[in-house]
């Protein structure tokens, strides 16, 4: 499986679900969430070190 693609415009209450789904990928080491000015989040997976 490949690394999930970052997902933007995620509503705050849906961030946990997106994070959980991203962590299903074995390529994902952790996930960063960055809040945008409109209050939504961009959720970005961080890869595992090879």
């Amino acid at each position: 499986m490949a690394l999930p693609t970052p997902i933007k415009d995620v509503p705050r209450d849906r961030v946990p679900a997106v994070v959980k789904a991203m962590l299903l990928s074995p390529e994902t080491a952790d996930v960063t969430c960055k809040e945008a000015k409109d209050g939504t989040y961009t959720v970005t997976p961080r890869p595992r070190k090879k």
């Binding site: 991203m22 961009t42 890869p47």
Partner: protein
């Protein structure tokens, strides 16, 4: 006082000069990298937080160049983001501190920058003089020391004196970057065109923290039993300590001989090398830079897409040191949850169902991660199809 002692690996005596120069650059940079800092080579006063560099090599190539050369060239400065909120970042907290009261006076010779101190781990090194060493090392003290010893190989250490660092937080810089980027349509078009025309990813590297040093202390002990030939200007092979004890009258003369030799060999442009102590087999020198120089930096990368948009930031050190390929796949997609997402989430809670879905996607020739399948707006139709296929309604 923060001090760093650095390692240089043993240079092969049979290496060609050009190869040896590369080795020296790499070994210097490896010592900086060992402290979780991206090295600047050559040492440079003019690197600041807010500097934005264009990087047009792929991440794989960057990692390769980084491994081979030890550093990444910072040759294409795109812009310097201004008006960074240092006052806010360095405002008083638990400790009262003067760092936020910017701008500070530029440090001159003999003064330390008003910036947080930094200390690095310690190292030792061995070095060989053969082949243009003086040209390659960013420090003059090592070849000068070898010259003083009349030796072609030595064991020693380099200690960075008066290390300090200053930074701005990544979030502030990212906002500055995106604001600068969104305000200039021509800029977006230009860089988007570069990405389209070159057919390979391009990145912007933004410096968030720099590490400076005001000088170094170089200590060398000759590995040879006797000096390898006395060049012109070499001091006599005498032990200062012995002379001082046994023949005190000769000590000033011997010390003057070392000073003369040091002057004959010369120091770095814009700096100075000062002999701290010496014997026939060992020398210690302080090398001061005229002003503090940047040894390394930390920052983040953003990818420039072909349509002129920017990706989310990824730390540069993780990208080049950790082999992260996050930027290569960082095509941000839009969140587009719908009623089928909830149905599929419940379905996928069972790992066996997750495997079924994966197999179903594979049959269609699709390799989509669960997170993207569930939440990407572009996959709404596919989700609907999956709900029908697995009879989840």
């Amino acid at each position: 006082m923060g001090r760093v002692v650095l390692i240089f690996t043993l240079l092969s005596a049979c290496a060609t000069p050009s190869r040896q120069l590369e080795h020296v650059a790499k070994d210097w940079c490896l010592t900086i990298r060992a402290s979780q800092v991206l090295p600047v080579y050559p040492l440079n006063e003019d690197v600041e937080p807010g500097d934005v560099f264009l990087v047009d090599t792929s991440l794989a190539d960057q990692a390769r160049v980084y491994e081979e050369r030890g550093f990444l060239p910072l040759d294409q400065l795109v812009t310097r983001l201004r008006d960074l909120p240092y006052r806010e970042f360095y405002r008083d907290g638990y400790f009262e501190n003067p760092y936020g009261k910017v701008p500070h006076d530029r440090p001159s010779a003999g003064t330390s920058p008003s910036a947080p101190k930094v200390a690095f781990p310690s190292y030792a090194f061995q070095v060989d003089k053969s082949g243009g060493l003086k040209l390659a090392l960013p420090l003059s003290g090592v070849p000068v020391g070898l010259g003083l010893l009349g030796s072609s190989s030595a064991q020693g250490s380099v200690t960075i004196r008066d290390g300090c660092t200053y930074a701005i937080d990544g979030e502030s810089l990212a906002r500055k970057l995106y604001a600068w980027w969104s305000a200039d349509a021509d800029l977006r078009e230009t860089f988007g065109a570069i990405a389209r025309d070159t057919g390979k990813p391009i990145y912007l590297r933004v410096v968030t923290r720099v590490f400076l040093a005001r000088g170094v202390t170089v200590s060398l002990v000759s590995l040879e039993s006797q000096g390898a030939g006395l060049d012109a200007g070499m001091p006599p092979q005498i032990e200062l300590q012995k002379i001082a004890m046994d023949e005190p009258d000769l000590a000033p003369k011997a010390a003057a001989a070392y000073r003369d030799a040091l002057a004959a060999i010369g120091g770095p442009p814009g700096g100075s090398v000062r002999l701290v102590q010496a014997s026939s087999r060992a020398v210690t020198m302080d090398e001061d830079f005229e002003r503090p120089l940047v040894l390394g930096y930390l920052g983040f990368d953003v990818r420039v897409f072909e349509d002129g948009s920017l990706s989310t930031p990824v730390p540069s050190f993780a990208t080049v040191e950790g082999g992260s390929t996050a930027l290569d796949s960082a095509k941000a997609v839009s969140f587009g949850e719908d009623k089928n997402t909830a149905l599929l989430e419940r379905f996928l809670a069972d790992p066996a169902n997750a495997e079924k879905l994966k197999a179903w996607l594979a049959e269609k020739g699709l390799a989509i991660e669960p997170a993207n399948f569930l939440f990407d707006a572009a996959h709404a139709a596919l989700r609907s199809e999956a709900v029908d296929h697995f009879e989840l309604r």
